[in-house]
Each structure stands twice: as C-alpha cells, then as structure tokens.
C-alpha cells in the first residue's frame, strides 16, 4: 500500500521534471569578475538566439564568439563526460553542457561560478584543493600485484558482475565538483574532503581487487573527515552522473561504525584459481 503511494508520488514528480519550453532567444545573466586583477563583480546581460537543443554551454559559447569574447569559461567535451563546465545555473550547480535552455524556466538564465571553489575569473574557479582532497584519500588499488611483474604470466583479477556492481556506480564520477559546490559542510569547512573524495575512498575500499584499507580508513576517520557529512544529500541531488556520493559516504561509515561487516574477499588472480 505505502509502496504504491510512494510510486505514485515519484511518478508525479518525474512528470513535473520533463517540461520543456521552446524559445527563440534568452538573456544570459553572466557573473563577471577577475579576481587577480581585483576587478569588482558585476553581471552582464547578453541576449542570444537559442533552439530546442541549445545547451547553456552552446549559448555561452555563442555569446563568447559573437557578443563578448572576454567571457572566462572552462569547457572541453560538450557531452557531460569531462567535468569541465560546472557552474551555478539559476542558483543550482549544474553542467552547462548538460543543461538545455529549454529545461529551464523563465527567459533569463543566471550563470555564476561554482561556490566553495576559490574564484578565478568569470565562470572559472580553482580546482587545486578539490583535486588535492581526492589525492589525499589514496584513490588507487593497493595490492602487491598492482603492478604486473611478470609479463609472461598475464591474468586478470576475478571479478563477477556482482562484485563490479558494488563500486561501479561510484566510478562514474567525472570530478566536476558540483557536489562539492552544493555540500553545506564544504561551504564552511575547508578541511572536509567533500563528497567526491569520500565517495572515491569508498569506491576503492569496496573494490575486491584492493587489499589495502586500514590506512585509507584512518585518513577519512578524522576530525574533519567522513564524520563531517551529515547526510544533507545535496551532493547526490546535483550529481549529473548518478554517482550518489551520499550513499557511498554512508556505506563507508557503516563499516566504520561496525554496522556493516567487511565481507570483501580480495580477488584472486585468474591463473592461481585455475591451478587449484
């Protein structure tokens, strides 16, 4: 019964999301400032033509090519896989190349740099600390066999599709920083690794090829570590790739609290299995 009601509610919400409005032009309200040059911030309004499939990135690049070429913006793949173009669009962190103008309400679109990242220029922010947080959680396989020593004996670690599913979702992360920008703890705590790094810690922790663990766990079990997440969920609600960092964080915490047992058996190399 309850499940049925819930399903109904979910459906209603989704229908709501799907709305598209086609316009022929929109006004981009672009945040402008050059930090290093100590320029003060202001907004520029630029009108650009749009079509049904125009993304906010398309619109901004059109503005850059034909209206004001000095707009500072970071972009690369234009297909939501490189993570360059994160910015606040109408107040919410999103990927510009992944947000169609037709999905947005109103004919003015406000674009601002991601909060919680040091600002550089216009829509561009500094990711150095974000990347450093990622590096700090030791995001790599720790295993004696990590580097293949004997090229004559090649084999893979055995990993069933079920083993894969345990971490696959978290490896969708494109390091776009939207979650970092949305998280209320990151907003005040400069030492908090943030949802991206913490969920990557879980991604490697739960991978059955990883034999490390203790050290990585001790890194996140810190005064400014994993416990500073209070399940605000904003990270998961803005993540464009379905990583659900909030889930990864809570699952890892489950292991720290002893709620979940670590039943991970470190995978065997395929060849050893065959010999047995």
């Amino acid at each position: 019964m309850i499940d049925l009601i819930i399903e109904k509610i979910e459906k209603m919400e989704k229908k709501h999301q799907k709305k598209e409005t086609v316009r022929s032009s929109v006004v981009l309200k672009v945040y402008r400032a050059n930090r290093r040059a100590r320029e003060s911030a202001h907004y520029d309004s630029i009108e650009v033509p749009v079509e049904r499939w125009t993304t906010v990135l398309d619109a901004l690049l059109y503005a850059k090519a034909y209206k004001d070429s000095s707009i500072g913006i970071r972009y690369s793949c234009r297909m939501a896989s490189c993570g360059s173009c994160g910015m606040k669009i109408n107040g919410i962190p999103r990927l510009a190349c992944y947000t169609k103008v037709s999905e947005l309400e109103g004919s003015t679109i406000t674009v601002e740099p991601l909060t919680n990242f040091p600002h550089m220029r216009d829509l561009v922010t500094d990711f150095s600390q974000f990347f450093a947080h990622h590096r700090d959680v030791q995001p790599y396989i720790q295993n004696e066999e990590a580097d293949i020593k004997d090229k004559a004996k090649l084999s893979e670690f055995m990993q069933t599709p079920e083993d894969l599913d345990k971490f696959l979702q978290f490896s969708y992360c494109i390091k776009c920083g939207l979650c970092y920008s949305a998280c209320p703890t990151v907003a005040t705590d400069t030492k908090f690794p943030g949802p991206q790094a913490l969920s990557q810690a879980y991604r490697y922790f739960i991978d059955n090829r990883d034999a490390g663990g203790k050290e990585r766990i001790n890194i996140v079990d810190d005064r400014h570590g994993i416990w500073r997440c209070h399940f605000a969920g904003s990270c998961s609600s803005v993540c464009p790739k379905g990583v659900d960092p909030a889930l990864g964080i809570q699952l890892l915490r489950g292991h720290l609290l002893g709620f979940s047992k670590n039943e991970k058996k470190v995978a065997d190399l395929q060849e050893r299995l065959k010999k047995d």
């Binding site: 793949c77 490189c82 561009v124 990347f131 790599y140 893979e156 490896s171």
Partner: protein
Amino acid sequence: MADVISHDVLIIGSGLAGLRAAISAAATDKKLSIAVISKVQVMRSHSVSAEGGTAAVLYEEEGDNQESHIYDTIKGSDFLADQDVAERLVQNMPYEIYQMDHWGMPWSRRKDGRIAQRKFGGYSFPRATFAQDKVGFYLMQTLYDTCQKYDNIHFYNEWFCTSILRENSTFQGLTAIELKTGSFTIFRAPAGIICTGGAGRIYSFSTYAFSSTPDGLDMAYRAGLALKDMEFVQFHPTGILPSGILITEGARGEGGYLVNSSGERFMQKYAPGKLELAPRDVVSRSMIKEIQEGRGFKHETGVDCLKLDLTHLGAECIKEVLSGIREIGIKFSGVDIINEPIEVRPACHYMMGGIHTDVDGATEMAGLWAAGEAACNSTHGANRLGANSTSECMVWGRITGEMAAKYAHDRKANSVQEQQVLDEEKRIYDGIFGGKGDVNPYEVRKRLTDVMDAKAYVFRNEQALAEALKKARELKAVMWKHVDDRAKEYNTNFVNVMEIDSMLRTAEVVLVGAFNRRESRGAHSRTDYPYRDDANFLKHTLAYFTGDGGPRMTWHPVTFTRYAPVERTY
C-alpha cells in the same frame, strides 16, 4: 627573460597517451621528475569521450589469435600501415589490458568473472575490451588515479604550450603560458613526449571535444618535424544531430542496424559479409551514397541523415552495456534509443595522420617522442579500426615513457636558446595578442570548419579540394589576428585565437595532402580517382613547414613484413 621550470621529462598532453607515458616514465626511474603539461585540467582531456572499446587478443583458448588481429589491422588500414608497427601493437595489448585491470579499471565482466569483449567493426573476432560504453573515461580515471601514487609526477593543469625549443635537432624544452596567471614560461628538460591528441575540430561536424585543436601538431610542425598522412581523416558513421556527439560503434557491435528511409538495412548491399560491422570508411561511404541516392532522412535542422535502430536489443541490454549512449540520445537528441531509432550521420572522428615517428615513437628530433593520436607511427595507415586507438595510446604511451626516462637518466636539461624564446614571445604577443586584425576570429573558424565539412568530407575530388585550399588560404591571409580580451588571467579568448591560428595551418596540410593523393585508399576517397593505386601511392605523405607558404611535401616508404597488399572487400 621568462621564468624557467626544469624537469627531467616533459609530457605535453594529459590524454590517455600522456598519462600512460607519465606512469611508465615515473615507474622506470623513480628519481626523475616528470611533468605533465596540459592545456586542460588532467581529467578534462578529450580521451574521456572514447566510448566503445580497446582492442586486444585475450582469449586465444577460445579461438582468437594475434596473427588475426595483426591482419585485421593491416587490412583495415588498406595496407598503408607499417606492418612492424601493427605487430608491436598487437603483441603489447594483452599486457596493457591486464595491467589496467590490476590498476582498478572497471572492465565489464562475463559471468565467470573474466574480462568481457564485444564485436567491433573490421575485426574477425570479438576483441573490443569494454567497460560499458565509457571505455576512454574509465581508462583515463584509472590512469589518473594511479598517477596519484607517484610523487615524481607533477601536473601542470591548464598550461598552454606554444612552441618547442631546440638546438639544431635536439630537444631542449618548451614555452608555455599558464592560463591562470597569463605568465609566459620556459620548461626545460632533456626529454619530451608530445601527446597532444587529434585535431578533429578543424571540421564543424565532429565527434571531438572542443579542446581537440591542432596546436600540438602545429607546434611540432613549426619546429621542423614532419606531419605524416594528414589527408586520412576518419569519419565515424554515427554522429548524432545536430551536435556531432558520437554513438559508439559498440552500438552496432551489440547488434544495431543502420536503416534508410525505405526501412532497408542497406549495408547488405555494400558489405554483405560484415554488414554494419565493416570498417568505418566503408560504412560511412555507404551512408553517403544512400543519402546521395535519395534514401536518407531529413533531420529537423535540414541536414540529411540515416537512422540507427537499436530498438530490437531490448531495454535491459541497452541499460547494461550502452547506458552512456542512451543518456546521450535522450539528452542531446531527444530520442530514447530503447524506443526509437536515432538519427545519425558520418562525423569527423579520428586523424590517422600526425607527427612522423618511427616504430618506437621517436620523432626526427633527438630527445623528443610522440605518442597517441598526435603521433603517426603508422599503426592505422589509411583507416583505423575502432578500438585500436585507445590501444595505440596505451602501448606507445608506455614505450615512449620508458624510452624517454632512460634517455633522461644521465642527461641534464640544457640551457635554452634565448633567441628562440624571444622569437616565440614576439610571435604570440606582438603577432597575436597585439594583433590589429578586425575580422572576428570565431567567424574565421566557422568558415574554415564549414569548408572542411563541405569539401574534404567522406568523398573528395580535385575541384572541391582546390576550392577548399583557395578558401583556406584566403582565410589565412585575412586580417583576423587579434584578441579582444586584454586581461592576463585565464584569457580563453587568447587561447582560442592561437588555436585558430594552428587550425588554419593544419587544415592546409590536410587539404594539400588530399589534393596530392590521386587515388582512393581507406578513409581518403576520391570520386575522380575511385581506385587504389599501389603503383604510385603505396607510400606515406610527409609535410614540412616552410614559413608562410604552403607545406613542402615528400613521400615516405611503407614497411612490409608479412602481408602483400590485396584487394580489400568485406
């Protein structure tokens, strides 16, 4: 003079090739300091867009063998591949696949826990190793994360390299601009590896990332290195409209059909043996023929196209192994491939050509190597098989990284030639940043790429190429070089203008090469010379920089070790 930063090995570009080279150099000699310099942040490189697979022979016990992979590659290349290079690729690939597995690559798995492989165009065995349909992304992630283990790898995110510094023919370093501050800096090192990727943005309708411009190629070209086989541009059959974003070949590998407006699976006519899984040049040509003969669809933008039908695969299969392109279809084309066929058209996808190297990836300059798509070691000849490119990046990334590290081991960075630095500073700051042009550079870019799309597409002919060349040279001569944005910090306008400058030169090389090659081979198809001409053209094209004039063209022999050319049918 500008600030100087010294390292032992400089790696330019942080795509698959660059990262693989970095790890291999760092692991070869832990005492060396390795710099990875890239104009984008590491993980933003174009390689993350690669979708379908990485070719390797893994299951010999199940019927695959390396000889067959070698032959498929050579045949796919229309016999223009250097055969020793193809051998090297195939022999090294299994190791790379397993090494990636050990580093955490989420390869898709078979039920028995072993690595899964899928069918891909032009192969006689399913040997595209895949991780859903985000192979390039996962490879990049695995390499990037593995790089974090090494303290001797230093990343220079968002530094735009502008020129190679050299003494006679020995590498000495580079000049680069730090985007964040705008400062012009010299990098010094005894060894360097160019991994700057492809140049597909010289076309408008292209599957490439916006950052795939030819500035890396151009840098080598201006330093006197040859660009090889640049006329061979691969058009991938399935770019979606209107953006050109790719639907992976894996979609056809999993069983997708191409259909024309009479609902017919037209590949039956053109490649009865392999159907949709014929090599890309064959499929793209068939598609254009269908369109020319009036059996295409019209997309709402007015562009001709055909449809890729995946509806018969079923929702579960699509969600499992083609989730990425389903997302792309819904988001960028408004089509859920589970329910509807999706409109596609051949799009510029890969540059077979690049910086001329030998089988080890060494360039003509001592101390300088090239790897990945930027290099042309002639693995792919006139046409690359899908899934062989990420493979190439891995194999030569590793080889060049190792060789550069060994070379740098007992060498010190030399002091650089001051004059070269001053000249370069003059070229970019007086010539470009301080330029007095009044034509909008972005308009120049649009014109150029539109011309390339129109005249140097799947089918080419003498007249069209001549027109395109004329147009490209006109654009080059127009007074357009200027930068409106006067700020030093994060000046992307400046970067764009420098990219456009390199695009003009590289497009010219492509067009001259295509003009000179009066035959049809692989991806280069001339309607006025419809057949392959082994007597006159079984050789590589080389282009050298001559200053403001066009390129100086010469030829280079192809290496044969096992297979004599035969007619290529599928």
